[in-house]
């Protein structure tokens, strides 16, 4: 009887006009190769944040929101593909507009 635990990024979705990358991370526990349980953890990545001068700081794509787990390469690849300059500019405008609301 062997138990194993693995992580799968089983959903990487591109959402909305600002191309948020919505990630579902599944923790899969198997017994002798047969899946016993699957639990989910979610996080969303956006193109960046504003600094104090309202400049957009690109998302560094280093750590997941838990602050310890490296962002998987497959997730990074999606982000870099969809976050074009146009998208970043639009996202920056949205963030600035949200500040004043």
């Amino acid at each position: 009887m062997a138990l194993s635990e693995s992580i799968e990024y089983d959903k990487i979705e591109i959402v909305g006009q600002y191309k948020h990358v919505q990630v579902r991370k599944a923790m899969v526990i198997k017994k002798d190769g047969k899946e016993l349980t699957r639990s989910f953890e979610r996080f969303v990545l956006d193109p960046g944040t504003l600094d104090a001068s309202d400049n957009l700081v690109d998302n560094p794509l280093t750590k997941e929101p838990d602050g310890t787990t490296d962002i998987a390469d497959e997730v990074k690849a999606v982000c870099t593909a969809v976050w074009t300059t146009t998208i970043k500019d639009a996202w920056k405008s949205k963030l600035i507009a949200d500040k004043s609301s």
Binding site: G16, Y18, H20, Q22, R24, S39, P65, K94, K99
Partner: protein, 302 residues
């Protein structure tokens, strides 16, 4: 083997039974007025006309026949059991499945050739974009209904990050000096999301010390919002008061808001002062007594 060729057989004497010990070969047709009894039948085809039946069982328990319009299998027993490793029901051309039954595996149901649902170890499993459609087809649902398809359910956890500034007089929302994470939980039903998180021990020297901090944002929602604005009230909490710069208003309504296309929640408070509207920030008391802060919100996602 000897072959006997005959044109006519007449039973001899009073008997009416003809017994042939060997093999009888008939080159044309056999017409039988009543019944044929055999231990085994071999041939190329069995042909019966419309509404002529194959009857099986001592009590003619199952009937197989064609009515002229439809094909019929009528079983009179309690069960009609078909045993096979896998079973596929499909159209006459063989290119459109209706249902597939896999031994030790899933049962799949199809609509017009597209899989709609299958069984799994947990129950029913819907392909992406499929679900339960509650559309009645009538007018009772009202003209504003945009969808009656329930296509998702999910529950899990998310890392909620509480961001704040160490100066309680700070008035910006994008210059956090302190961030504290907590494991939150979510439920998603269709496009409806409910997310929650709680930070404990915000007091001085606590595990999540944010004493004397302006609270700026909560980030990391598990799904991006859609629509315009979502809001909820502050509930379970201790040590939170309303403040803007040096202005402290003791009567305020504390709330959270989330704009569209976002995963960032802004905590705020509306000061309750007649004819003097004002917006305050949630601020954590400067205390070593236990303090905590809980967030929950329901919103829509795409």
């Amino acid at each position: 083997m000897s072959i006997l060729n005959v044109n006519k057989i007449n039973p001899v004497g009073g008997g009416s039974t003809i017994t042939i010990a060997g093999i009888a070969s008939v080159t044309n047709n056999i017409s039988v007025g009543n019944s044929v009894t055999a231990s085994s039948f071999h041939g190329d085809e069995v042909k019966l006309g419309d509404n002529k039946k194959i009857l099986l069982g001592d009590g003619n328990d199952i009937e197989i026949y064609h009515t002229g319009a439809v094909d019929m299998i009528e079983g009179k027993s309690l069960y009609l059991i078909q045993e096979s490793q896998n079973i596929i029901l499909r159209n006459l051309a063989g290119d459109e499945a209706y249902a597939k039954f896999f031994g030790n595996g899933a049962v799949e149901l199809y609509h017009n050739g597209t899989k709609q649902v299958e069984t799994s170890t947990d129950g029913l499993k819907f392909p992406s974009g499929k679900g339960i459609n509650f559309a009645s087809g009538g007018s009772s649902d009202g003209p504003s209904v945009s969808s009656e398809l329930l296509d998702d359910y999910e529950e899990g956890s998310w890392t909620a990050t509480l961001n704040g500034h160490s100066s309680p007089t700070n008035v910006a929302t994008n210059n956090p000096t302190t961030s504290r994470t907590a494991t939150g939980h979510y439920r998603k039903i269709g496009s409806y999301v409910h997310a929650q998180a709680t930070w404990a021990n915000l007091q001085q020297s606590g595990a999540n010390d944010m004493a004397n901090h302006q609270i700026q944002t909560i980030t990391g929602l598990p799904f991006t919002s859609m629509g315009t604005l979502f809001t909820s009230e502050l509930g379970y909490s201790r040590g939170i008061y309303g403040r803007y710069n040096n202005s402290i208003i003791e009567e305020a309504i504390f709330y959270f808001y989330l704009s569209g296309s976002s995963t960032t929640v802004y905590p705020a408070a509306s000061q309750v002062v007649q004819n003097t509207p004002g917006t305050l920030y949630h601020t954590v008391s400067n205390s070593s007594s236990g303090m905590y802060y809980s967030f929950q919100m329901s919103y829509y996602t795409t």
